[in-house]
């Protein structure tokens, strides 16, 4: 699971109000080189919830060099692009959990894939 996916998910257990963002419990993190595409970054940047992204990056150990509150103007800066790209698409959670900030329910991430299925008493 990359931070792109983490940014899109929130806890959907019935009755949960503050299920975003998930806390990341790290077991194993890996890095895989991904195609660097500035146009893709430009598309995705305004759609990213930045505080959640920073929080995820902190947990995954790739927070360094990412600004607190970048504007779209930052996208013209190659240094920023590279760091954003790396944290968004290259750092991968192989093993660990997504933890609901409200209930503490853990959604396991295994072999890089989050299991977001609810048990019947949660939906």
């Amino acid at each position: 699971m990359k931070l792109l996916t983490h940014n899109m998910l929130s806890c959907h257990i019935k009755g949960v109000r503050n299920g975003y963002p998930f806390l990341i419990e790290v077991g194993k993190v890996s890095e895989h080189e991904a195609d660097f595409d500035p146009d893709f970054l430009k598309h995705i940047f305004p759609r990213i919830n930045w505080p959640a992204f920073l929080q995820g990056a902190e947990a995954m150990g790739c927070r360094e060099g990412l600004p607190e509150a970048p504007t779209e103007a930052a996208l013209t800066d190659e240094q920023f692009q590279k760091k954003f790209h790396h944290a968004l698409l290259e750092v991968t959670l192989e093993e660990g959990s997504l933890v609901c900030p409200e209930t503490g329910r853990k959604f396991p991430v295994s072999k890089g894939i989050p299991n977001m299925l609810l048990n019947e008493d949660e939906c």
Binding site: M1, K2, L4, T5, M8, L9, S10, C11, H12, Y20, H32, A34, D35, D37, D39, F40, H43, I44, R47, N49, L89, R105, P108, S110, K111, G112, I113, P114, N115, M116, L117, L118, N119, E120, D121, C123
Partner: protein, 499 residues
């Protein structure tokens, strides 16, 4: 909408209907004769993908005005557009700048001779290498017959040097002669000769490169390679696109989208399929990633096990994907499931003691509900101008165009039928997001239609239902469902088959 005009009868571009004439160029589009209803929508979608405007693209019916003919005239803004389209097209063999056509060889010859010398000369110049490609529709030509025909073309006055590999100029001689086989080919296409300059041709070799026969990780419903490419073409997937398959399965549609340069994301409710994969012959683990490695494609940017009905996507997420392409689960081979306990089984469930090992309950998910979730989520998650492409199962008894699911933010672009057996078919539905998602509009649209049930929700029963007694006697309706329809009704032909 792309315009379609009837044939003018004289083999020349029609401008007599008072419509403004397009400034573009007209080509003969020679289709592969399969997936008949998919062919024109594919070219229209690709024209859009390479930047043509709707009003720059126009179809003109071929001689005989046969709807399902493999020969259709197509106006495009430029030759460059034709070349760009040809790099992706799957269901078109070639595009030809026609120099002449006719019912007989004599008519063809007269037409070519009448074609302006000034337009021919630059391509016939002695400094060019060239070759002539001969193709026949409806019947085959031996190599000798092809060479004879090329020799008969001597009146064209080729001055260049023949070169079979990588010539600078290619010419095409197309023959249509369905003879007595006309009835075997759906389209009753009249005899015709065409000759002209071959402007662009497709590379169908890519279908073999990605063939499922050699794919490492496969499941019973993996999408056929050719169709997966057609789906991606319908959706306008291109380099830099973010594409989602919400029913990713073994990832066959994801692979095709990645081939076209998209970043791909896949969801599936089945943990075995999306995460565990299976064990290969040498004991290795095979998963979706194995398929991406096999073709040297960049891995998916995200794979998630989730339930589209009770999905964990943050509620304010919007305009994320350029394309959403999927084959929703329906009840012939893989039925739909969603979270929760079916009412009749509630009493038998064991209490949840360990959440780590507990296997969540699932209940049936009707196609009507599934498509409602798919359309509403797509309306929200697609960028404006982005496309949703999915398969809708249909049977002759239940199909009703009015039942195709709609959404206030989505417009129906194409609906192409692929007949699978005598008893059911599937339709590739292409929808485009035409306005931003408006939650209130969507809610009121669905409030007016509280019941998502569709006639096709009975698909399984319809396909497997007891045959009429007379027919059943002749074709024992086995547990495999059987494709035989007995003698009760005339057989529908499988138009998806390769002729």
């Amino acid at each position: 909408m792309v315009r379609v005009v009837p044939n003018s009868g004289d083999g020349r571009q029609a401008h007599d209907d008072g419509a403004p004439s397009t400034s573009g160029k007209e080509y003969l589009n020679y289709f592969v004769h399969r997936l008949l209803e998919f062919r024109r929508p594919e070219i229209e979608s690709l024209a859009k993908t390479v930047g043509c405007k709707d009003e720059e693209v126009q179809w003109r019916a071929p001689a005989g005005d046969v709807e399902l003919s493999p020969f259709w005239y197509l106006t495009l803004p430029s030759e460059e557009a034709a070349i760009q389209i040809s790099k992706r097209m799957i269901l078109t063999k070639m595009m030809v700048e026609v120099w002449g056509e006719g019912e007989t060889w004599e008519e063809l010859r007269a037409a070519i001779e009448a074609y302006p010398e000034a337009l021919k000369a630059p391509w016939l110049a002695p400094e060019h290498t060239f070759r002539v490609v001969v193709e026949s529709f409806g019947s085959s030509l031996t190599m000798e017959a092809q060479i004879d025909l090329i020799e008969k073309l001597e009146f064209v006055n080729f001055k260049g040097i023949v070169r079979l590999r990588d010539p600078q100029v290619r010419f095409a001689l197309l023959r249509c002669d369905c003879g007595d086989h006309g009835s075997l080919i759906d389209a009753k296409v009249p005899p015709r000769w065409y000759f002209g300059r071959l402007v662009a041709s497709s590379d169908r070799g890519v279908i073999d490169t990605y063939t499922l026969k050699r794919r490492l990780y496969l499941g019973p419903t993996s999408m056929d390679t050719e169709m997966a490419f057609v789906m991606c073409n319908q959706a306008g997937v291109r380099r830099g696109s973010l594409m989602l398959d919400p029913y990713a399965g073994t990832g066959s549609i994801l692979v095709s989208a990645a081939h076209f340069g998209a970043k791909v994301m896949g969801y599936d409710i089945d943990i075995k399929v999306i995460r565990e994969g299976k064990v290969g012959k040498a004991g290795e683990r095979l998963t979706i990633s194995s398929n991406f490695q096999q073709y040297g494609l960049p891995a998916p940017v995200g794979l998630v096990r989730l339930d589209m009905h009770r999905n964990p996507l943050r509620p304010d997420l919007t305009e994320m994907f350029h394309a959403i392409i999927g084959d929703p689960p329906y009840g012939v081979r893989a039925g739909g499931r969603k979270s929760g306990v079916p009412a009749e089984a509630a009493a038998q469930r064991n209490p949840i003691t360990d959440r780590h090992t507990y296997i969540p309950a699932m209940q049936p998910y009707t196609l009507g509900e599934c498509l409602r979730d798919l359309l509403d989520l797509s309306a929200r998650l697609l960028v404006v101008g982005g496309r949703l492409v999915y398969f809708l199962p249909a049977t002759p008894e239940t199909y009703d165009e009015a039942e195709i699911p709609r959404h206030p933010a989505l417009e129906l672009v194409a609906n192409s039928e692929q007949i699978l057996t005598t008893r059911y078919s599937r339709r590739l539905i292409t929808m485009e997001k035409v306005r931003p998602y408006d939650a209130a509009a969507a809610a009121s649209y669905y409030a007016e239609r509280p019941d998502p049930t569709m006639a096709i929700d009975r698909l399984h029963d319809i396909v497997y239902e007891q045959l009429p007694a007379a027919a059943a006697a002749g074709s024992a309706a086995g547990s495999d469902g059987g494709g035989e329809d007995g003698a009760a009704k005339p057989r529908r032909r499988c138009r998806g088959k390769n002729f």
